[in-house]
Structures are given as C-alpha cells and as structure tokens.
C-alpha cells in the first residue's frame, strides 16, 4: 500500500526539482560604441530590460537583421526596453568585423541602437553566446539582470515577411505585461563565435 504513495511522492519531488531551474544572471559590461562612447547597462536607469544581440558584420544571417533591430529599438526603447548589439567575433579571423568596419556599417545602415565592440570576447562568454545573430532578452529582477529568452530574433531570417513568431517581441511583450515567457529558447542557424582561448588550446 505504501509503495505507490512513496513512488508518487518521489515523482512529485522530481517534478518540483526539474521545474525549479535556476535563473541565469548576466553581468553588466562596459564596451565602446561605434560613436566612441562607452556603453553600460547601468547607463539606462529607467530600463526594465534589454534586448542584447550578439551579431557581427560578416555573417550572412546577421546581415539580414539590422532593419528589424532598428524597428524594435524605435518602438521599445522608449518603453524601457532598449536594444544593444554586440560584436564579439574574432577580428583576426574576420577582417570584416573590425571596429573600423563596424563603424562604417552602423553609419551606412543607419543603426539607431548602440553597436558595441566586445574586443576581449568576455561579454559573449558571460552570456554564453554561441553564434551571430544570437538574441537575448534580459530583465531586471531585484537589481540583477536575468536571462528570460535566448535564441533567434524571430523564426525567419531570410524572409521577414514570412515571420510567424517574433520570439523576441513576444518575450518582451509578455515581460512588460508581467507574464512568463512562453518560449524561453529557440534554435537558429548562425555563424559560430570563435573564442580565441579555445582555439589556442587546440
């Protein structure tokens, strides 16, 4: 008689343990923007959250998104959710991703959002960013920056007109309304970020 109850209890415990996934916290950073100024999360005292995009100049997938980033920033920065784009790729491997070329791209494509250079790749490591573009939605919870979403910006890079699920926008809308994010991570094809340390080790 007691065995089934014990099993049920054990099962319930396992469920609770699985559900209590630890929130992932990321650190503030200070990186140089293409306008020459340093940018930190703490520069935005009124921000409820941020959309942080790891992107770069050279990747064919990253090239598709700046107009969408501009649209997002135009709509949500004033509502307390600015977008910051970070380039963390190895500039030795990809000459197209140097700071000079970042400045040229931001100017030519009228980036309305900060495009900052993670020269030491420390911010990408802190976020565990894997590729470009790789989008994160972080939200301020008790003074800390909690990762609420990571993955693709939306479900169609090549064809913005065919997007069915704007993942980042959905996550931000949910958080602004005080709801949980339904889809907290998604897969996406992108260009891998090579971390120089890991290359050296091999």
């Amino acid at each position: 008689m007691q065995k089934p109850i014990f099993m049920l209890l054990l099962f319930a415990l396992v469920l609770v343990a699985a559900g209590r996934k630890k929130d992932r916290i990321v650190d503030d950073f200070q990186l140089m923007n293409v306008d020459g100024r340093m940018v930190s999360l703490s520069d935005y005292p009124n921000a409820k959250g941020f959309v942080v995009i790891f992107t770069c100049n050279h990747c064919p997938f990253a090239k598709l998104y700046p107009p969408r980033f501009n649209d997002f920033h135009a709509k949500y920065a004033s509502q307390g959710v600015p977008l910051i784009a970070i380039s963390s790729t190895d500039t030795v491997m990809y000459e197209e991703d140097t700071f000079t070329r970042m400045r040229a791209k931001a100017s030519a494509e009228h980036f309305s959002f900060p495009y900052v250079w993670d020269a030491n790749q420390t911010v990408a490591k802190n976020f565990n960013a894997q590729k470009t573009p790789h989008a994160y939605v972080i939200w301020k919870v008790k003074g800390k920056w909690v990762v609420k979403y990571n993955g693709a910006f939306d479900d169609n890079g090549a064809h913005p007109e065919l997007v069915q699920e704007p993942y980042v926008v959905n996550a931000v809308e949910a958080l602004m309304a005080g709801r949980a994010v339904k889809v907290p991570d998604t897969p996406s094809i992108g260009c891998q970020i090579y971390f120089r340390d890991s290359i050296k080790k091999k």
Partner: protein, 156 residues
C-alpha cells in the same frame, strides 16, 4: 510514390557530374532519415560561410572515399542562401573537387532544425549518422575527422 521520388533524387545526385547541387526541402531530408534500408547515411550540414565546416570537408571526403565500396553514403547539406549558391557554394565545390551529393536546403525559417534532431541548437558544422536497420543514430555537433567518423561507425 515517395520512395520512388526519393530514389530518383538520389539517382539524380549521383548522375550529376561533380561540382553541382540539388535543391531540397527539409521534408526531403526527413525522408532520408526515414529510409528503411541497410545503408548508413552520413549527413553533414555545412555552409560556405562556415570556416570550421570548410576545414572538415577534406576529412569527410577521405571518409567517403575509404568506404566507397560499402553501404555508407555521405550527403552534404548546404545551408547557404539560394541566391548566394552560384557565387559562394559552386566555387567551394570546385575548389575541393566535391563529388559527393550536395543538397542545398531551400527551407527558410528555423522550424526545421529540431525536426532533424530535437537537441540541435542550429550550430554548424553538424553531422548525423543514421542506419535504420541497425537502429543507429548519432548526432555530432563537433568537428568531425575521418578517424572520428570511423569511430562513430563502430559505436553501437
């Protein structure tokens, strides 16, 4: 019907001279994964813009050459954009004298990724080894070498 169309697709691939590709949808890749025969398919997802993918191409070719008389078939699935294929993919196939079938995935969006493997986050290179008869399936998201692929073949 489906099997017939699939066999035709494979036949078209192998009859094509080197350095060309055929366009496929994600469903066609899934169909390959469902083949009920005793061939081991090694499906490598790559793109011309992916540096580590290009670095492992010679290893894949060597593996394929080593097993050319066995029921082991390498298929290279390119994730290049269709409009870039002539400019970026074809020169790459020429440079490496690729004779294996090359499929250009014409799927846009990201929904197909987890249909290939539910744990895949979309990073490439990625290689899938499948053999229906031996109920074998190994999904590799690290760089492969001829040796590592031979080891994968031996794994249960």
């Amino acid at each position: 019907m489906r099997v017939v169309s699939f066999i035709t697709l494979l036949a078209v691939c192998s009859s094509l001279t080197a350095q060309s590709y055929v366009k496929v949808s994600a469903s066609q890749v899934e169909e390959l994964l469902r083949q009920k025969n005793d061939t081991t398919y090694v499906i490598n997802f790559f793109a011309s813009w992916c540096a580590p993918c290009i670095q492992e191409l010679p290893e894949l070719q060597a593996f394929s050459a080593e097993h050319k008389d066995e029921k082991i078939k390498l298929i290279l699935v390119s994730l290049d954009f269709e409009e870039d294929a002539e400019e970026a993919l074809i020169p790459l196939l020429h440079k490496y004298s690729i004779t294996e079938p090359v499929w250009l995935l014409t799927e846009s969006g990201n929904r197909w990724i987890t249909r290939v493997d539910k744990h895949w986050n979309g990073s490439i290179p990625a290689t899938l080894l499948v053999n229906h008869q031996f109920r074998k399936r190994e999904f590799i998201t690290q760089r492969v070498t001829r040796a590592s692929l031979n080891q994968s073949l031996k794994n249960p």
